[in-house]
Symmetry: none
Subunit: 194 residues, 4 copies
């Protein structure tokens, strides 16, 4: 067998992950059959079980991997000691850009929110972004940059607004272009600033 006629091991695993994230995003976990993932990944159904012990393990692997990517894309190199306005602006721009470039992944991540099949590791990572956001907001509240409200409330508003906008993009009632991102940033900033 020549190199061209087969995929390397890692490529197969990646094909499975890519197919699964799309299908889970489109139809949800219970709505997606393992053989359908295999078909879209162009591998045999049994092959999936060489890389993942179960459908649940697969969805958890995906969740942790992509949540991590999101965290890195949004927080990587962000310095919370920068001015709050700049931090927020960066955060918003990065989040929206990530969403624009990886809509299926955001859709996938949001759909799995609090799902019963997520394991401990997935649940832990789910709170990572939230934790950093809360820390940032607490600091800003103390410095009287942000409204004197619970950091959880401000986090809920900011992340909720992002999800609403992202969903608008998916529904095609909204276009996630630069102008919209800038405009939305302004709105959400006003929601939280003092």
């Amino acid at each position: 067998m020549t190199a061209a006629s087969s995929l390397s091991t890692s490529d197969k695993r990646d094909a499975i992950l890519a197919a699964a994230v799309e299908l889970f995003a489109e139809r949800g976990f219970y709505g997606t059959a393992v053989p359908d993932i295999a078909t879209r990944a162009k591998v045999g159904a049994g092959t999936i079980y060489r890389y993942f012990p179960s459908k649940e393990a697969l969805v958890n692997t995906l969740f942790q991997h992509h949540k991590q990517r999101l965290v890195e894309a949004v927080l990587g190199g962000l310095d919370l000691s920068w001015p709050a306005r700049k931090v927020f602006s960066e955060f918003w721009r990065r989040t929206c850009t990530f969403a624009r470039e990886n809509p299926k992944i955001i859709q996938f991540l949001e759909l799995q929110h609090h799902a019963p099949y997520l394991d401990e590791a997935s649940r832990r990572i789910e709170h990572q972004l939230l934790g950093t956001a809360t820390a940032f907001l607490e600091q800003g509240i103390a410095q009287q940059v942000f409204r004197d409200a619970s950091p959880s409330l401000l986090t809920a508003i900011v992340w909720g607004a992002f999800r609403g906008i992202f969903q608008g993009g998916c529904d095609e009632t909204l276009t996630l272009d630069d102008a919209t991102i800038a405009s939305s940033e302004q709105c959400v900033w006003e929601a939280i600033r003092r």
Copy 2:
């Protein structure tokens, strides 16, 4: 036989609806088996099919019923010719109150968003609240009460923020008390006002 020892026909239907809305809210449509609904409703599995022709018909009945209740609770008696600030305030207070009193229902409604098993009637009613919101925002934008942004964007931010806050309430990272509602209203108003 005493009145307490048996349920009337209508009570059984109601028990099925109540059990189903809870389970769908907790586990989603595909994650909920019909016999689970029957068990929680304390009826036989076959009984469900005396009231609803299929699991899909059941979820659509629930969706339409509760979405209608939400629309009425939020929009009933609301006069869009009132000052925008007052309309918004009423809308926000009513929405949050409904969510506080009917958390499972909000959770259920949000989970079914754009689900493939929703029928035409469900999809139509899904857009009713959105349509009124957009009309209200358009009017406010024209009157320079709201920011000069697309009404869809403002809708996405307001409804997204509400969902974020509601989810915080479910996660118990937030308490939906009157103070939080008032505080959040202020935040979201600032997000959209000019």
Copy 3:
């Protein structure tokens, strides 16, 4: 309650029998649901079980009743000592007339042929007509009126031909008018006569 507002006991039983024979003829035993019989008979589903202990008992009652009626209609007052030609002619005319006047009943009886749910009594009566026919044919063979073949074979041909013609009537590829009956009698007579 006045006499006009309710059916007598016997009328209900008859309504059930009439509804059941039609449905069994149209859809077969397994294809007919008991509640459908109740609906067509305009009685409650439970009422059927006041007259018949089970669906199987109902079908056996029907089978025995109508098979008996058929036997009487075909053999009643027939004297096997008449000339064979006349006996056959009477038999054929009576059978075809019964079929023309009671198509559903013939259809029902033929559909249940050798069904696993028929009980001993039904199976016994199923052979009654056959037995008389065989006796008649044996006598005719001995008298060299009929072909020198096994009476079972002649019976099979005569009854098979009748069923074929009857089915043609149901399919509307044939009209069971007097001319057709006379013509068919001639054919079938030629098949068996010496």
Copy 4:
């Protein structure tokens, strides 16, 4: 592993078809449960759905396959320009031989007559044998070989008689040996000849 210890894919499909035709012949379509077919075919219940999309598709596949086999066995190489007596003789001998060698199949085919679950293709093929028979009889009537009766009537008598004889064979009131076949051919020929 030896050849005997496993079945090829096609063997499994064949085992399902063979088990299904027997059970449908014995108990009818509605009286046969899919798991019963699986048990008799010695496959898992799910396996049936790898080869046939539904129970209805299975029965239609069987019907079309075996009806086609019957048509070929009876009509293959038959030349309607041969003398009518010879054509009839061949037809009768072939039909009876097929029935003797494939009793379950004849039983199966006759039981499905005009069943509501038969699809268009099945219904079309059902009329093929009938059509040829009618054409042959029409020609013979025109040539004054056959009785001056409607071809449908003669067809009904011939096919009905065959079914009666076949059923006698199943009931064991008749033996389908060569003598019986020859004798029956003579009888039925007399029924239709001028």
